[in-house]
């Protein structure tokens, strides 16, 4: 999986957990919560969907690292071997 595919997976999971989300408007540096309609239950679903898509277990203690697109990318880049 390369970075582009990773970003696509993240945004797909986000749109599934929080339907109605416009992936194109996501500011990667800002937390999802500050820009789209997403509550703590949606966020939990988002993480579970990501785990399934990326076939990876995210320890609960790391959940907060996934609160923005940039956060997700850097977390999965270090925990997921990306293709060049």
């Amino acid at each position: 999986m390369n970075k582009e595919e990773l970003v696509r997976s993240i945004l797909t999971a986000l749109a599934e957990a929080a339907p109605g989300t416009d992936a194109d408007t996501i500011d990667p540096a800002i937390s999802f919560r500050d820009q789209i309609e997403i509550d703590s239950i949606d966020f939990l679903n988002f993480v579970l969907l990501l785990e399934k898509k990326l076939n990876l277990k995210v320890p609960e203690i790391d959940y907060p690292k996934l609160s923005s697109l940039d956060g997700c990318i850097s977390f999965f880049e270090t925990h997921h071997k990306l293709a060049d």
Binding site: A15, E16, A18, P19, G20, T21, R33, D34, E37, I38, D39, S40, I41, D42, L44, N45, E60, I61, Y63, P64, S67
Partner: protein, 550 residues
């Protein structure tokens, strides 16, 4: 104890919460310590809070806003919300908080029913959720914008800080009758529009006493209430009760994050913590090991409210923090905690506890006419409270009939099903109606159904609470489509998105199922109970295990 306004001129919540402390040794004590999103810590002493709330009261006066006028907030836990709430009470206005996660539709309905004259909100929330509604809200005269970036250039709005800094810092609270209106809190009904429960200044007596008994609060405490200020807990115990006791209140602007929460307890030396079952269950999921890497030894009392806390969660508190969670029970209508596992008694894990001193609670059966008190223990019936406690709601705004229907033979009927054991402890069983309890929020199915009905593909809709291990219940919608629409994934996502856009994430359905038809009564009313029975795979002929019809 309460002080009362100087010169015997009545009782005002804001005087009890703020001004009285500035006369004595509490003047320089920190009243509010905000942990801002930016990482910054902002402190307000009681004296500073007095000055700022005076300014806000003068600001309102300057706008021609006075006694009985409704002042709303739509905001998270930012200092301006607290200044607005208390300043409004000083000016004898009626303060009403809205949950910032509401979508435009619930916001419009509540501003309209509540006849809001003033709204305080942020630039982002205004542009996303309110600007589009202005033309439909003729009574909303002033929108005050809190803009982090400085001056706002948004049409038809005023800048909160500009006006606040120009308003005088001295204000004499006018004589206040204890029965003068103080607060409006919205709650949902199973049918019809949301209801605005009216509370009066006299409620402050209950706020203070219940803070002492049920939360064990003392002036030396560092108290943290995690409730959102958009709900009644966020006002009664997130502002009023702790301030009347002259202690220091921690306010965290961010949303739930278990690890950060443990750090807050450690760094702020929190001694009393009031939180909610959904948060506790999320922390449990992460395990007690994560807690133990922090020093939470400052804690001496932990309490929970929102929906019943399962016994495992009560005990998990002991394992993780060395203290059990004390569950308690109350409602928007009761204004304050009514039944609790309070400090001085043994906890029964999973129970609501026992009525607080001065509160009489009973299990009743509705009869035609009147009610019958259940004398034997362990019989399920409706929980009722003897009417007349100080924080009892005084009405639903503009809905006298709905208000009267809550009372029978001098008892307030709560709409909650419960039983009382032989030791006098109450145990929550369910709702007598179709109301949904999700993550501590009471959600009316009718409001959700009405929003979904506006989608052009929807012919019929029924909404229920589906059991969920974390949130207790999740909102689930059953939809019958109009002819010509295909029940596929794309439409399902579109409908879920439509719901969220209108209602906001907290009350929109999380799940949606297409049906060919929905079960209805002979008069054509959708039978949500039957939908729920089907969802739970209960025998459809026997829904008695779910709820009893009053």
């Amino acid at each position: 104890m309460l002080a009362g306004l100087p010169a015997n001129s009545g009782l005002n919540i804001a005087y009890e919460a703020v001004d009285r402390h500035t006369l004595g040794s509490g003047a320089d004590q920190v009243a509010l310590r905000f942990l801002r999103k930016s990482g910054q810590i902002q402190e307000y002493t009681y004296t500073r809070l007095q000055e700022l709330t005076n300014r806000f009261a003068n600001l309102l006066k300057g706008l021609g806003v006075g006694k009985g006028d409704r002042v709303f907030t739509l905001a998270g836990r930012m200092p301006e919300l607290y200044i607005t709430a208390l300043g409004t009470l000083k000016n004898l206005g009626v303060y009403c908080p809205l949950f910032s996660a509401f979508g435009p539709e619930p916001i419009r309905v509540r501003l309209s029913i509540g006849e809001a004259r003033v709204l305080v909100t942020t630039k982002a929330l205004y542009l996303r959720k309110v600007a589009q509604l202005r033309s439909s809200l003729p009574k909303l005269e002033h929108v005050l914008i809190v803009d982090e970036a400085g001056r706002s250039e948004i049409p038809d709005t005023l800048n909160f800080h500009d006006l606040l800094s120009k308003a005088p810092g001295r204000f004499a609270i006018p004589p206040t009758d204890p029965e003068d209106w103080a607060l409006l809190h919205f709650t949902s009904g199973t049918t019809g529009q949301p209801k605005a429960a009216v509370h009066v200044h006299a409620a402050v007596l209950a706020h203070q006493v219940t803070g002492k008994y049920a939360l064990d609060l003392y002036p030396e405490d560092i108290f943290w209430c995690t409730a959102d200020p958009g709900w009644v807990t966020g006002t009664s115990y997130g502002i009023i009760s702790p301030l009347t006791l002259g202690l220091t209140l921690i306010v965290d602007e961010e949303a739930f994050d278990a690890t950060r929460w443990y750090r807050i307890i450690q760094d702020q030396r929190v001694s009393v913590w009031y939180t909610a079952p959904t948060a506790v269950r999320m922390m449990m999921k992460m395990g007690s090991e994560a807690v133990k890497t922090f020093d939470t030894g400052s804690l001496r009392f932990m309490a929970s409210v929102g929906e019943p806390l399962n016994p495992e969660a009560v005990l998990w508190g002991k394992e993780a923090f060395g203290l059990p969670f004390h569950d308690n029970w109350w409602q928007t209508e009761t204004g304050g905690i009514m039944i609790a596992n309070y400090a001085a008694m043994d906890i029964k894990p999973g129970s609501m506890g026992r009525p607080l001193p001065g509160i009489e609670a009973a299990i009743v059966k509705r009869k035609k006419p009147g009610i019958e008190l259940v004398d034997n223990p362990d019989i399920t019936g409706e929980l009722a409270l003897k009417a007349g406690w100080p924080s009892m709601f005084r009405g639903y705004l503009g809905e006298d009939e709905r208000y009267r229907a809550c009372f029978q033979d001098g008892w307030y009927l709560t709409g909650d099903l419960a039983r009382q054991d032989s030791d006098g402890y109450f145990w929550f069983v369910g709702r007598v109606d179709d109301m949904i309890k999700s993550a501590g929020h009471l959600i009316g199915p009718f409001e959700v159904e009405s929003a979904l009905m506006e989608h052009p593909a929807v012919a019929e809709v029924g909404v229920i609470g589906k059991p969920d291990p974390i949130a207790k219940e999740l909102v689930k919608a059953f939809i019958v489509l109009k002819p010509g629409n295909r029940p596929d994934n794309a439409l399902q996502r579109d409908l879920l998105g439509f719901g969220r856009k209108r209602l906001g994430a907290a009350i929109a359905p999380k799940e949606l199922e297409f049906r060919r038809s929905l079960p209805k009564t002979r008069s054509g009313k959708i039978m949500r109970r039957l939908l729920k029975a089907q969802e739970l795979a209960l025998p459809e002929g026997d829904t008695s295990t779910l709820e009893e019809t009053p």
